[in-house]
Symmetry: C2
Amino acid sequence: MEQYSSKLLANAVEQFATLPGIGKRTAMRLALYLLKQEKQDINQFSDAFIKLRNEIQYCSECYNISEEPICTICNNPARDENIICVVEDIRDVMAIENTSQYKGKYHVLGGIISPMDGIGPSDLTIEELVNRVSSSKVDEIIMALSTTMEGDTTNFYIFKRLKEFNLNISTIARGVSIGDELEYTDELTLGRSLINRVPYENTLAR
Amino acid sequence: MEQYSSKLLANAVEQFATLPGIGKRTAMRLALYLLKQEKQDINQFSDAFIKLRNEIQYCSECYNISEEPICTICNNPARDENIICVVEDIRDVMAIENTSQYKGKYHVLGGIISPMDGIGPSDLTIEELVNRVSSSKVDEIIMALSTTMEGDTTNFYIFKRLKEFNLNISTIARGVSIGDELEYTDELTLGRSLINRVPYENTLAR
């Protein structure tokens, strides 16, 4: 698969192969698929990503993706503003919303502390979370991160940063199997884990 | 995964999910990955596909993808112009080139006859192959299609169309396991199957 008869094709394959989980062979298959589509469809295809990247907005309160400066969850007066559920990314917001077990607000970190991937606390919205907590009447924080090493590290770091405030900090119950990604958890387990959340201190004494 | 907090995101996910083999969940992961990339990289990413579709050229002889009106294989005087190897798409050209067992020219059909997918002979470059054979000194045709039902159908149709010419028509040896896709065959088997090609008639008497 080393020789391409066209630089245009080689370039398209290369671009597809930059995506996570897409190898050279799959990239080739995708590029050939695009070649057979209408020009108009390809324009729509490509436009979607440029628009996504250029026009996307993040809620200035919780950093969820939003069409407005403040997202529909933060703007909803029916949501309990005393509780913030801290999640890694917007897929987790969607997953928790689907359980219908949570009526508070969210804080989207935009990632998880992972020294292996070069992601430190300053790459996430942790400072913004601290500011948000210090300037509002939040009294409970639910940490809803993946039960991985990186999730534990992030839990620990955020717990330390928020200790000075008078907060009830919990993590979602470890009904989620250790080592599993949050977004692949079934709704029942995830819903149960929100109800059975335990004080953060308890998770340290394992 | 039904609720998206952004139409832009929903649209990007939808576009990714139009690709073969990409489901909604993978599409979501890819869209979120793009969100974290530089704007410039996204522009390059999207541009590659628009350029591919708008600027790609096909060799006017063999219909391989090409940067020039005539591709480098057709233009190469060292290649035997008496033999044409008929393949489904350009991946197969690359696969055969990698075996280093073939020094003739190619004809890229641009697909395979597949009534299930609504692909008939007129959607492929079969007419162009007939014209090419009738107006040149080609005396041998090697059919190198996948050993599937669709491949057999296409072989049969092309054999019928070329019968009137004084040609040696063969198919690559059935060393390729029946039901396998050509492009996933290892180079040794594929090379061997080119050397051991058999007259088309012999493949009918199974």
